[in-house]
């Protein structure tokens, strides 16, 4: 039995650390250099003098805070609606006795295979006709719709396993379905809800194409679209572009730094849905 050389294995582990992190660190360096430093080709050098002015330019001319708050608003509303709506459906599918439970589940599961971009044009036509194009609503509605399948799947899987005795005794005490849902089912379902939150957050926070297609007002843009426009407008101010990219990545990186375990677990749970 031939065994791998230990040193070789550790080298194998180290390579991806460099390949996956170095580009991000390089971007950070890049964002702190002057244009001349960037162009003179010393790629591994630290900035000679840290150029915070790049961040100042990016911050002042890029309406960063506007984009950030738009992203926070759109993502938060989407997350709240997804949690509420999909836990209601999940409850009905997993705990009620009715004929069409499986059918409803199948409809949701089918949706997981439908590519979002195939709905771009028809959605645009529909939104134009109901006059909500270029509003945050035109983003939030499809975001909710495309986040529900996974959420319903994860939540109903969890709810199926809640012991029936809890519900039963509440029922005997005279609580109705709504009451049981609100004060028993929702509180115990917090762990899968966290998973749903993480998945929805990562997907929606980073979504770019719908935003770029449906939004045209500068003041309504979300962060990824905002980053994209900034980069195309300031195409030769390399340092400022770097700074804006770093600022664009920062919120997610910070959240990931504190919650990396929950996030990786959530993403696996989301992947295992199929």
């Amino acid at each position: 039995m031939r065994k791998f050389n230990k040193g070789l294995v550790y080298l194998l582990f180290a390579i991806p650390v460099i390949t996956q992190l170095y580009p991000l660190l390089w971007l950070l360096m890049y964002s702190l250099k002057t244009n001349e430093e960037i162009l003179d080709g010393n790629f591994f050098a630290f900035p000679r003098a840290v150029q915070w002015s790049n961040y100042k330019t990016a911050f002042e001319s890029g309406s960063y805070l506007k984009f950030l708050s738009n992203s926070v608003f759109v993502t938060a509303v989407t997350m709240i609606c997804v949690i509420l709506l999909s836990s209601m459906v999940a409850y009905a599918i997993s705990r009620f006795r009715w004929k069409y439970g499986n059918l409803v589940m199948t409809i949701f599961l089918m949706g997981m295979m439908i590519p979002m971009q195939a709905t771009l044009l028809p959605l645009m036509i529909i939104f134009k006709n109901v006059h909500i194009l270029n509003t945050h609503l035109s983003l939030i509605l499809p975001y909710i719709a495309f986040s529900t399948p996974v959420s319903v799947f994860i939540l109903s899987g969890f709810m199926k396993a809640i012991p029936h005795e809890i519900e039963e005794s509440a029922f005997i005490d005279g609580a109705n379905v709504y009451r049981i849902f609100r004060s028993i089912i929702l509180p115990v379902s917090v762990p899968p809800m966290m998973t749903v939150c993480i998945l929805t957050f990562i997907n929606i926070w980073n979504e770019y194409i719908l935003a770029a297609t449906f939004i045209s007002s500068e003041k309504l843009k979300t962060l990824p679209f905002g980053v994209y426009t900034f980069v195309s407008q300031y195409s030769v101010n390399y340092g400022a572009i770097g700074a804006f990219l770093v600022m664009g990545a920062l919120p997610v990186i910070l959240i990931y730094f504190f919650l990396s375990n929950q996030i990786t677990k959530g993403m696996v749970a989301g992947a295992v849905k199929g």
Binding site: W26, F181, A271
Partner: protein, 297 residues
Amino acid sequence: MMKVLKVPARTIAVFVLPCLLLYVCLVFVPIVVSIYTGLLKWDGLTPSNFIGLGNFKDMFFNDPIFWPSVRRTLLYAVASMLEIPLCLLMAILLNRYLRKANTLVSIYFTPVILSVVIIGQLWKTIYNPASMGGMLNGVLTSLGLESWTHNWLTEPNIAMFALYFVSLWQYFGYHLLIQFTGVQNIPDELYEAAKIDGADGFKADRYITLPLIVPIFKISIVLAFIGSLQAFDLVMVMTGGGPAHATDVISTHMYNSSFLSFKYGYGSAIATFLVAVCLVFTGFINFFFNKLEKKYN
């Protein structure tokens, strides 16, 4: 014994309808609209003409961009799937050689959580010509490999591979994480039992890890495949399908036909094709892996 709640239809409606209606209206209705629009000749402004399957005929027989974009999409899928066995090997090694590999896996995972816009712009900067501060060309030049430098994103023969690479780079951590979780979930007792029977190391992997990892492997394959069929954002951000359609995939071709050339009917026909391909391939992969799982059990 009340196993499952029996509630009036009205209550069920209250719980199910808000979500279901929203979902059907925003996912299924658009697909149906899209299938119908695919049968029209329509520019979005002037009245439309019903031309039946005319768009599909054009797409299959007269469009010089269509088949190459399908080929690139499939190549994208194959490239992403080839990465997965490597991830599995790394996952097995990580699990064997390190007690606490979670931190390392979290580090590998970092690019996954970033927006494609950030990833795309970052790599555009890396791929830039050396005169614009591009890192890759700069490194090659300083190693004396000047002849290897390229305009990575503007040379038609290379641009697509440059894009594949970014995608493989971004999702490496994702597949590794999935495989790693799968390997971790295999109970240690199985390996101990195998050791007693004289099988350890790679022999144990052959008879224990591989069969048990099949379902997890399938998840990665489906994700990679569906992800590549839908590959879109990255191409849009980095090249928009250019230069001269050299990096067009199915969905960018659809987007450009609809939103740049204003061929709404034609774009919808491509969208219909995309949905059909996604459904067929997902079905096929599931079928294939169900057979494989049966064979192993």
